[in-house]
């Protein structure tokens, strides 16, 4: 097992390197730079500015400098926000996004898994149809619409919760639900369908015939297998949700990391683009490793070689 983890860590570093390189290349390939603006700088001043940030260096040198700094965890200064470094931005934004993300995921699991189970065990019943309809609505209604509706209904019309902003537990409830709706629906459906698969298996039917104790033991075993697709789904979703959702954070005016992923690209804030990309990728490969290890616990038969 430990050999497996070590091998994976090496692959993960490789992935980070490739992601960094591709992002760097794409970033430099698209038109516009951090200093492209409507009220244009005179060319002489632009040259100075670029020299200050070493944007005049040949690309390969910029790339190597960047990799070197990254190895020392120095992600550089932001081009747009002069007083901030990328490390500052991540340090301030991540805890907020993470808090929101964790709650959204907890919501998704707490609602989605039981809903899926109920549907599977009582297939074609009213409960099944209702919970599935609910799951489908959650998936088809986009988060920006949900967010806007929530603010309007709960923040303004009913006046029970703050209309956006951040700082108290009351501020977290609505955005967490808005963010969690899509995963909830997905998880509910995945749970239902794989639970259905599993309970049709022979060993389950046999256990049912044998009585209650058998049923409990067997269903626990069945659930462990049924949950595999949910765990798979959770991997990338967790990474995405923890590092922040641009849409939900923008509409609820939440000072998280999510908006930086998008605005850094619009601003061509090269260092922030690289910093947020690497940060997210670390999470992503980390979560995927956790998922694979979890497979081992859920289904001991699974081998990776």
């Amino acid at each position: 097992m430990s050999r497996f983890i070590v091998r994976r860590l090496v692959s993960m570093l490789l992935v980070l390197w490739v992601v960094t390189t591709l992002t760097f290349a794409l970033m430099k390939a698209i038109p516009g730079g951090p200093f492209t603006a409507e009220k244009r700088l005179p060319p002489e001043v632009l040259v100075n500015l670029e020299a200050r940030y070493r944007l005049n260096d040949p690309l390969w040198k910029q790339y190597l400098d960047y990799l070197g700094n990254m190895a020392r965890f120095d992600l550089g200064p932001s081009f747009k926000y002069e007083d901030l470094t990328v490390n500052d931005i991540i340090r301030e934004g991540f805890p907020v996004s993470a808090e929101l993300g964790v709650l959204a995921l907890l919501f998704a699991l707490a609602v989605g898994v039981p809903a899926g189970l109920v549907s599977a065990l009582r297939q074609y019943s009213t409960a099944d149809y209702i919970s599935m309809l609910w799951a489908l609505l959650g998936v088809s209604i986009p988060s920006f619409l949900l967010a806007t509706l929530f603010i309007y209904v709960f923040g303004l019309r009913l006046h029970v919760l703050p209309a956006g902003g951040w700082g108290t537990p009351a501020h977290v409830l609505l955005p967490a639900i808005a963010l969690g709706m899509y995963p909830t629906g997905f998880i509910a459906r995945l749970t239902r369908s794989s639970m259905l698969e599993v309970i049709r298996q022979d060993y389950v039917r046999t256990a049912r015939a044998k009585g209650l104790a058998e049923i409990v033991v067997t269903y626990r075993h069945a659930l462990k297998n049924a949950i595999i697709p949910v765990v798979t789904y959770l991997g990338p979703i967790t990474a995405a949700v923890l590092t922040g959702s641009f849409v939900v954070e923008r509409i609820f005016a939440i000072p998280g990391l999510g908006r930086h992923f998008v605005t850094s690209i619009y601003n061509r804030d090269y260092t922030v683009i690289m910093g947020t990309t690497v940060f997210y990728s670390v999470f992503l490969v980390g979560m995927n490793l956790v998922v694979d290890v979890a497979y081992g616990f859920l289904d001991p038969r699974i081998r990776f070689d």
């Binding site: 698209i30 038109p31 516009g32 730079g33 492209t36 603006a37 409507e38 009220k39 244009r40 700088l41 005179p42 002489e44 001043v45 632009l46 100075n48 500015l49 200050r52 747009k80 926000y81 002069e82 007083d83 901030l84 931005i89 301030e92 934004g93 806007t148 603010i151 309007y152 923040g155 303004l156 006046h159 703050p162 209309a163 956006g164 902003g165 951040w166 923008r250 509409i251 609820f252 005016a253 000072p255 998280g256 908006r259 619009y266 601003n267 061509r268």
Partner: protein
Amino acid sequence: MHRFKVVLALAVAMALVPMASAQPQASQVLRWNVATDLETLDPAKSTGIPEATVIYLLYEGLTQRDAKGRLVPGMAERWDISKDGLTWTFYLRQARWSNGQMVTAADFEFAWKRALDPAVASDYAYQLYYLKNGKAYNTGKIKDAGQVGVVAKDARTLVVTLENPTPFFGDLLSFHTLMPVPKAVVTTTPLWAGKAETFVGNGPFVLKEWRRQNRIVVERNPQYWDAQSIKLARIEFSMIEAESTALAQYEAGQLDGSSNVPVADIPRLMKSGDFKAMPYIGTYYYLFNTTRKPLDDARVRRALAFAINRTLITARITRAGEKPAVGFVPSGIVVNGVDFRAAGGALMPVYDPALAKRLLAEAGYPDGKGFPVLTILYNTSQRHKTIAEAIQEMWRQNLGIKVNLTNQEWKVYLQTREEHNFDIARAGWIGDYRDPKTFLDMFITGSSFNEGLWSNNAYDRFVEATTKTADQTARMKAFHEAEKIFIREMPLAPIYFYVNPILFKPYVQGLESDPTGPPLLRSVWIVGS
């Protein structure tokens, strides 16, 4: 008898009490949405409206920022202007920075030279190009900052030497780029403006808190020289980008005002009185690439311009009280008591499809036959898209021509414009100061802002002439002539003049808005509930 007089006196006194309670009793805290986080609070580097909004509270320049453009003494008590208009001498009052140190002329000299410093690379350095050698220093042609036309003669005297007579220089004195900075603090703490702990300003408010993407809190500065005129105790700024959320908070009572407003709700908010269309010196227009056929023919450009139904656009699409454009320079530029646009009159019809058709036919495309398919370029935005769709239809119906629409992300769009890689590009321009120059000098031959590459010698000569004299009558006359040529040649189709949409509650009094964009919040007070 005596008792009756006492009773009468008491009754009168009681009647007067309600008037006394019209004094502000409510907590003098203003909660304002500044719409997006500030990039910086360093005056040399700030460019945007949110930055300006807060900078006008934390700093004060030689003059105070006044919504009507009057020259109100700020750090400078009084000043002298030489006969030729080239030398301005300012006499500063006794005033302190928020850390107790005196504000000196050296702080101004340091700040202005810093803004021009090529190493600092300020986006707005060009606001100081009116100073002698300002441009030369900024573009590296001279290396010695000592040659720049701003000198602190002594601790309270600042001598400014201009490159050319610049009558509107007075307007620029209060502009945020020209704010002083505490020399002693800046030289020791380069990032002094980034945190509340290190921030030092000389304005009516001090920075108490700055949480990125979240909020800014400023409080009344008791050390400010005119502190008694400031009624607000505190201003709390939110940074809500999503307009519908800002409106929801405003309506739920969490905000007292907002710098952004959802366009769709404007008609309703106008009725309720919450929406205020503030003056804004800006023009929305479609720029023509005059190097591409058939846009090189002025008749074609004029045809396209006259076929746009501006009244429809302002009444049905933008709906915030914008005025259809009848020239390039918008209303609101008042020089010597005369509004430039009013004096210039309507240089073009707001909508004349018949004339447009005739012009197009004259140019060789009767009913649009043979007219190539052009593309309108705009940057990603609902509003630009809707207007472009409307104009696309108008041109189809009125002229029989087909145009395509293409939407580009902001920086790609800017780059495309810079590379002259467009047929027709949507654009907008907000003036920086109250003089027609801020609009008309963009289009002289060779200007980097002249992306349509239009060139007209007569126009250039008129605009040049305005830099050679301080005589405003002569200058305005030259500008009017220039604008006439401009509209005759139509290198761009002006569409409407902007208004500045902001939202604030009826209990917020004394709020004025600067025509270059930011709301001026220092004079605000809250009326009791």
